[in-house]
Symmetry: C2
C-alpha cells in the first residue's frame, strides 16, 4: 500500500493507494466527521462496487446513494441538481460527507456538489478509473460542462481523503483503461523524465494491469501532480503545465461532441500536437515524438487529429478555452523531455502547421 499527504495547509489530505481498500472501512471512517453520508456514483459502477463500500457505512444515521447516468454527456448542471435534490429531500445538513465512487465525471460532479451544498460540505474521492486515480485525485478541480465549453462551471475544492483501490481497475473497459495510460505518459513528459523511462520499460506490465505496476504508476503520478499543484493551488502559473495536450484535446472533445472521444484519447492526440508544435519551435526532436507515438500505439491510443476536423475547428474552440488570456493563446510546450513550460506568444501559423502535420485538414 502506498500513502502520502497532499500538503495544502489546513486543507491537506491523504491519498491511499493499494488493493482491497474498498471493503475495509478503517480507511474511510476516520475521515467522516458527522453522522450522515451520501454516496454519489453511476449506474455502471454501482452494481460492481457500491455494496462493498456501503458495508462499512451501515452505522451512520443516514447513508443515501445518488446513482447518476454514466458518461461525460451527463456532466451538466441538470444532473448536478439531482444530487442537491437527494441531499435536501433526505435532510442532509452541513456536517454531511459526500463520497464520490466512480470515474472523473462522478468525482468532478460530486466534488462540485460538495463545494456548493450549503456553501461547502466534506467529500471523499474513491476513484475507480485509472484516469481519475492519476488525474482527479490531486488538484481540487471540480465542476460540470456547459454546451459551449468543457468544465466551464466549477470550483476549486479539496477532498478530505482519496482512496484509490487498484482492484477497481480490473473491470475497466479497454478504451477507458488506455485513456488513463495517456495521462500517465503525460506526467513523464511534463516533469518526470525518469518516470517516462520507467513507463517505456514497464508498459507491458501496465497494459496487463499488473496491480503492483499500476499502484507504482498511480502513486508516482499523484506525487508529481501534488508537487506541481502545491506551489500553485489556484492555477496562476506553473500548474498550467498539467494542461499539456489539453487545449488541443478539449477542442477535439468539443467538436466531436463530448463522449465520442474519451478525454484521455483526446489528450493523447493533443499531446502529439503539442509535441509537434514543440518540435517546430525547437524544443524537442523527432525521436522523442516517435517514442511517444510508439507508447500511445502500444496502448491503442490515437496519435492524430480526427479525420473530419479542420484546422479552423481547432482554432474556433481554442478561442474560448480557459487558457486564453486577453486574446493571447496560452499553450504548454516541452523544452525537453520532463521539462514543460507555459508559452503565451506562439505564432498562430506554427500552431496551424502543427495541426496540419497531425492530420487536421
Amino acid at each position: 500500500m502506498h500513502s502520502f499527504n497532499v500538503e495544502l495547509g489546513e486543507r491537506s489530505y491523504p491519498i491511499v493507494i493499494g488493493s482491497k481498500l474498498l471493503g475495509d472501512s478503517q480507511y474511510l471512517l476516520p475521515y467522516i466527521r458527522g453522522r450522515q453520508v451520501c454516496v454519489v456514483t453511476n449506474e455502471t459502477v454501482a452494481p460492481l462496487y457500491l455494496a462493498q463500500l456501503l458495508d462499512g457505512l451501515s452505522d451512520f444515521d443516514k447513508f443515501d446513494v445518488v446513482e447518476l447516468p454514466d458518461g461525460e454527456a451527463f456532466k451538466t448542471l441538470e444532473t448536478l441538481n439531482r444530487i442537491f435534490d437527494t441531499l435536501l429531500e433526505q435532510r442532509h445538513n452541513r456536517s454531511t460527507t459526500l463520497i464520490a465512487l466512480g470515474g472523473g465525471v462522478v468525482g468532478d460532479m460530486c466534488g462540485f456538489a460538495a463545494a456548493c451544498y450549503q456553501r461547502g460540505v466534506d467529500f471523499i474521492q474513491v476513484p475507480t478509473t485509472l484516469l481519475a486515480q492519476v488525474d482527479s485525485s490531486v488538484g481540487g478541480k471540480t465542476g460540470v460542462n456547459h454546451p459551449l465549453g468543457k468544465n466551464m462551471i466549477g470550483a476549486f475544492y479539496q477532498p478530505r481523503l482519496v482512496l484509490a483501490d487498484m482492484d477497481t481497475l480490473g473491470t475497466l473497459p479497454e478504451r477507458e483503461f488506455s485513456a488513463g495510460i495517456a495521462e500517465v505518459i503525460k506526467y513523464g513528459l511534463i516533469c518526470d523524465a525518469p518516470f517516462f523511462h520507467w513507463i517505456e520499460s514497464n508498459i507491458d506490465a501496465l497494459l496487463i494491469r499488473d496491480p503492483r505496476a499500476l499502484a507504482y504508476a498511480v502513486d508516482r503520478c499523484c506525487r508529481d501532480k501534488a508537487e506541481v499543484v502545491a506551489s500553485d493551488e489556484r492555477e496562476g502559473g506553473r500548474r498550467a503545465i498539467l494542461n499539456f495536450g489539453h487545449t488541443f484535446g478539449h477542442a477535439i472533445e468539443a467538436v466531436q461532441g463530448y463522449g465520442r472521444w474519451l478525454h484521455g484519447e483526446a489528450v493523447a492526440a493533443g499531446m502529439v500536437m503539442a509535441l509537434e508544435l514543440s518540435r517546430l519551435q525547437g524544443g524537442v526532436d523527432s525521436e522523442l515524438l516517435e517514442r511517444v507515438c510508439n507508447l500511445l500505439q502500444r496502448a491503442q491510443l490515437p496519435q492524430r487529429s480526427p479525420e473530419d476536423m479542420r484546422v479552423d475547428d481547432f482554432l474556433r474552440v481554442m478561442q474560448v478555452d480557459k487558457k486564453v488570456i486577453d486574446g493571447k493563446l496560452r499553450l504548454v510546450l516541452l523544452r525537453a523531455l520532463g521539462d514543460a513550460k507555459v508559452v503565451d506568444d506562439t505564432p498562430m501559423e506554427k500552431v496551424m502547421e502543427a495541426l496540419r502535420n497531425c492530420g487536421a485538414r
Copy 2:
C-alpha cells in the same frame, strides 16, 4: 463619502459608501483587471441605473449585460445558467469581471456565477437596495435557492470592491426600503447597543431616506458585520449571530413561498420571535421587546407570525435549515441588548411557546 477595507488577507476589499458614485468611473476602474466586463442586473434596476454605470465602461473590449427577471422566485440554478450562457456566448475568459447591479438576489447570483465561472473570476458588488447594502456587501455569501430550501446551493466568495451609492435608494419601493431597515435594527441588537440607541433617535431621518443618515447607518452596519465576519470567514462560530431572527424568518419565507414576504419582513417577525425566546430564557426583558416592536412598527414591518402559519410549519422547515447540526437546533438568542450568543440546546417546548406567543397557531 465613507470608505473602509474589509480585512481578509489577500482577499481584502474596500467598501465605498456615498452619493454620486455610480456615474463616476474612477471608483470602479482600478478594480477591473482585464479587458472584459459583464454587468448582471434585473429588469427593474436596469432602466434606472444601468446607463449611468455603463457610461464609465465603454472603453472595454467587451461589456455585456445580463438582465435577469426580478425577484427571489428567480434565484435558481436555471436563472444562474443564463449568466453562464451569456459569458460563454460572448467568450468571456478568466480575466473577465462581473458587476452585480441590483439587490440581494442579483448580488447573490452574480457572486455565485463569478465563483463558478471557469472556477472563479473577479466580481464587483454595486448594491442598489438598503438590504443588499447593509447585508450582502460583507461576508462573501453567494448562492441560489432550491425548491426545498433557501440559499442551499452556493459558495463563499469575496468581491473585489463594493460600491454603495445612497442615491439608488431614492427609487426603492416602500416595502423594500423597510425590509432593509429590519437588518439595520438587527446590527444594533446583536452587537452594537450604541447604534441601537442611534437608530431609535434617528429613525425619522432614516425613514425619509436622508442620504447622510443612510450613509452613516450603512457604514456602521458594514463595519459591524465586517468585524464579526473577519474573525470567522467560513461560519464556524461567532458569525452565526448574524443569523439572528433568520431561522424563524427563513421558515416564514419557505412556507409562504419565496417572494410573498420580503426577506427583511420575514427577518423582522423572526427577530421578534428570537427576542421572545430570549425573554423566556431570561436573556432580555419585555421592555426591549417593546422598543424593538415600536421601531418595527414605525417602519411598517411585521412583528408577528403570518396568521395562517402553525407552530408545526415552523418546526418542519427549521429541521432542514443549515443551522441544524446533527439533529440539534442551533439558534441565536440575546443575552442583552448588543450581546448575541449561539445556543445549541434550547428546549423545544420553549421554542414552541415563543412561536405561539408571536401568533403562530
